[in-house]
């Protein structure tokens, strides 16, 4: 049996992280690690070596964009796919957290919070298969 893929969830809202973690473990069969801000996220990337990262955008200390940019600038971690998650609605333009998918971030995907179980499972699966 192939080893389980590992997902790192980075979200300052631990309840949100736990809810996704439970879903991914039970329904996706993934191994899941949690981090609560960008700095911890970077540490966990190094120690846990996740196969994919689900990253919240609005976080204290270091936000998701910054963390994503740092990973994508490092060739050791560049290839780990990143899914950005945010509660800022995509049509609200020009806030500091306005989705910048495909423009200023190199994240592979972007999903609005809350996310339908089916959607997040599908998107993770798709990115891992690439």
């Amino acid at each position: 049996m192939a080893a389980k893929s590992k997902v790192l969830i980075v979200d300052d809202d631990s309840d949100y992280g736990e809810a996704i973690k439970l879903l991914l473990e039970k329904k996706g069969g993934y191994e899941v690690a949690l981090a609560y801000d960008g700095n911890e996220g970077i540490e966990k990337v190094k120690s846990e070596r996740p196969d994919i990262i689900v990253l919240d955008v609005m976080m204290p200390v270091k936000d998701g964009y910054t963390m994503c940019a740092e990973l994508k600038a490092d060739e050791k971690y560049r290839d780990i796919p990143v899914i950005l998650l945010t509660a800022v609605a995509s049509h609200i333009a020009e806030t500091p957290y306005t989705p910048r998918m495909g423009m200023e971030t190199e994240a592979e995907d972007y999903i609005d919070k809350p996310v339908e179980p089916k959607v997040i499972l599908e998107r993770i699966d798709k990115l891992l298969k690439k």
Binding site: K27, A87, H91, T95
Partner: protein, 505 residues
């Protein structure tokens, strides 16, 4: 030169002279008064106006020189001709030094007298005419000066920058604010080419377009540009149109909008904060319910499942309401957030469908798209995406499982028409009137369970109208609905008079 009436006074102690002068001068039509001494003469001059004074210098009592001095200080406009008994040049010269106009020596002939008086009169007339002309000229200059200074004062006191350009794109006029906002350089920029003195490409393009008559209805072009030191400016450039419709130049009004920009930024930050504080908890609750519903935290009984499903719907509804409220506050804050670009509407529709795919698949709804060979339009990408996400999402929500949606686009003269049709529930005749009103929701047995905020259609209507477009609806209860969006096709930026619609160059 017409002098209506000439009054002459003769002061001489000799009766022969007085009588002789009177006789000669009256024949010319002039009024003559005579007195026999200086004191009487001075008194008379105080009470009566005289043009000419014939004054004997050698008189008993107060002598001619003294009279002359007194009269010069009292009535300087009188022309005095001195009569001297001794034909000595010295006394005459001395008198003229004090202010006498001329002299005549006794004895004199009638002709000599007439001649000297006429000379004085014509000289006086000449001086008067010169004075009149000078006064007129001064009045004119004064008026011109006042008009100029009025314009200058108004220009200098205006809170906005003003720049006037002639038809050859040379600077005709500008005020200090314009100079400050644009950093107008050069010793004397008046008459010089705009591009020589102002380093602002956006403004230069706006001026060129205006001079070439590119602005519609002469209302001018409005755009946000960066001025000196990257100060954000709202620039309004309007053509100066002459009676023959020729464009004689352009006037640019520049407003410093850094304050508005700062407020806008504060507002954006506030909105981001509200979103985080309000929306995030609801997102978390919904996510927790999602995980429960999936059975990831243990199998649920049918009743638990039902209740949690309903709770989740409330969560989803709240999220939609928060998003819509934020969206509407954003729209009401002004259209300045819009960034209009040349847009392929087909891409936008495909993006919208991508977002809604899960919902459509859930209900097994098929979507047919016919959007080939359509012209591009000038529009805000996010705004247009919201329009089509909204319309397609409605077509999915207000439809039965296995339903159908047709998206069809065509060019109709200067407009692009995109229609979104479904074969869903349709809208009743009564409800149709209200569907673009805020918080209105069609309620019947079929729609009661559908989560919505009643803000979607009002929001997209505002977005479409801000693009100078229109949205119409055709529907019949039970027979589906067709929403048609019309948007103007324009290679040029959209301009509407009096409204700061931003354009992208």
């Amino acid at each position: 030169m017409i002098i209506k009436e000439v009054n002459i006074l003769v002061i001489d102690d000799e009766a022969v002279i007085r009588d002789g002068c009177t006789k000669i001068l009256k024949k010319e039509g002039w009024n003559v008064d005579t007195v026999e001494n200086g004191r009487d003469g001075i008194e008379l001059i105080k009470n009566k106006f005289f043009d000419i004074l014939l004054l004997d210098l050698m008189m008993p009592g107060i002598n001619g020189m003294e009279v002359l001095q007194e009269i010069k200080s009292q009535s300087p406009s009188i022309y005095t001709i001195v009569i001297t008994g001794y034909a000595t040049i010295e006394t005459a010269v001395e008198a003229m030094k004090i202010g006498a106009f001329d002299y005549i020596a006794k004895p004199f002939t009638p002709d000599q007298l007439r001649l000297v008086v006429k000379k004085a009169l014509s000289n006086k007339a000449l001086i008067r005419e010169a004075e009149y002309l000078r006064a007129e000229q001064e009045k004119g200059l004064h008026a011109i000066d006042q008009e100029k200074s009025k314009i200058r004062t108004i220009m200098n006191c205006m809170p906005n920058g003003v720049l006037v350009i002639d038809k050859d794109k040379r600077i005709a006029l500008y005020n200090p604010i314009a100079s400050k906002l644009l950093n107008i350089s050069g010793d004397d920029p008046i008459g010089k080419d705009v591009d020589e003195c102002i380093n602002c490409k956006d403004l230069s393009i706006m001026i060129s377009d205006t001079l070439r008559g590119k602005s519609s209805h002469n209302a001018g072009i409005v755009s946000e540009i960066a001025g000196n030191d990257a100060i954000p400016l709202m620039a309004h450039v309007a053509p100066v149109v002459m009676a023959d419709s020729e464009i004689a130049g352009a006037v640019a009004i520049l407003q410093d909008i850094s304050h508005q920009k700062a407020v806008e930024k504060m507002k954006s930050n506030f909105i981001a904060k509200v979103t985080h504080e309000l929306k995030s908890p609801v997102a978390t609750i919904t996510q927790q319910l999602n995980t429960l519903l999936e059975g990831a935290a243990g199998e649920l009984s049918e009743e638990q499942l039902k209740m949690i499903e309903k709770a989740k719907l409330w969560g989803v509804g709240l999220i939609a309401l928060i998003s819509d409220l934020l969206s509407i506050s954003k729209i009401e804050a002004g259209m300045s957030i819009q960034k209009k670009v040349l847009l392929d509407i087909r891409e936008v529709v495909y993006d919208a469908i991508e977002i809604l795919k899960p919902q459509a698949e859930d209900k097994k709804i098929t979507i047919n798209i016919s959007l080939d060979n359509l012209p591009k339009i000038n529009a805000d990408r996010e705004g247009m995406k919201e329009v089509f996400v909204n319309l397609i999402s409605n077509a999915i929500k207000y439809n039965d499982s296995g339903g159908k949606i047709d998206i069809y686009g065509e060019r109709d003269k200067d407009y692009l028409r995109i229609s979104v049709s479904d074969n869903g529930f349709g809208i009743s005749r009564e409800d149709l009137k209200f569907i673009f009103e805020r918080f209105f929701r069609a309620k019947n047995k079929k729609t009661r369970q559908i989560i919505g905020t009643g803000l979607g259609l009002p929001i997209i209507k505002e977005i479409i109208e801000s693009h100078l477009g229109a949205i119409t609806v055709q529907s019949e209860e039970g027979n589906g609905s067709t929403f048609t969006v019309s948007l103007p096709i324009s290679e040029k930026p959209l301009i509407r008079e009096g409204e700061p619609v931003l354009t992208n160059y």
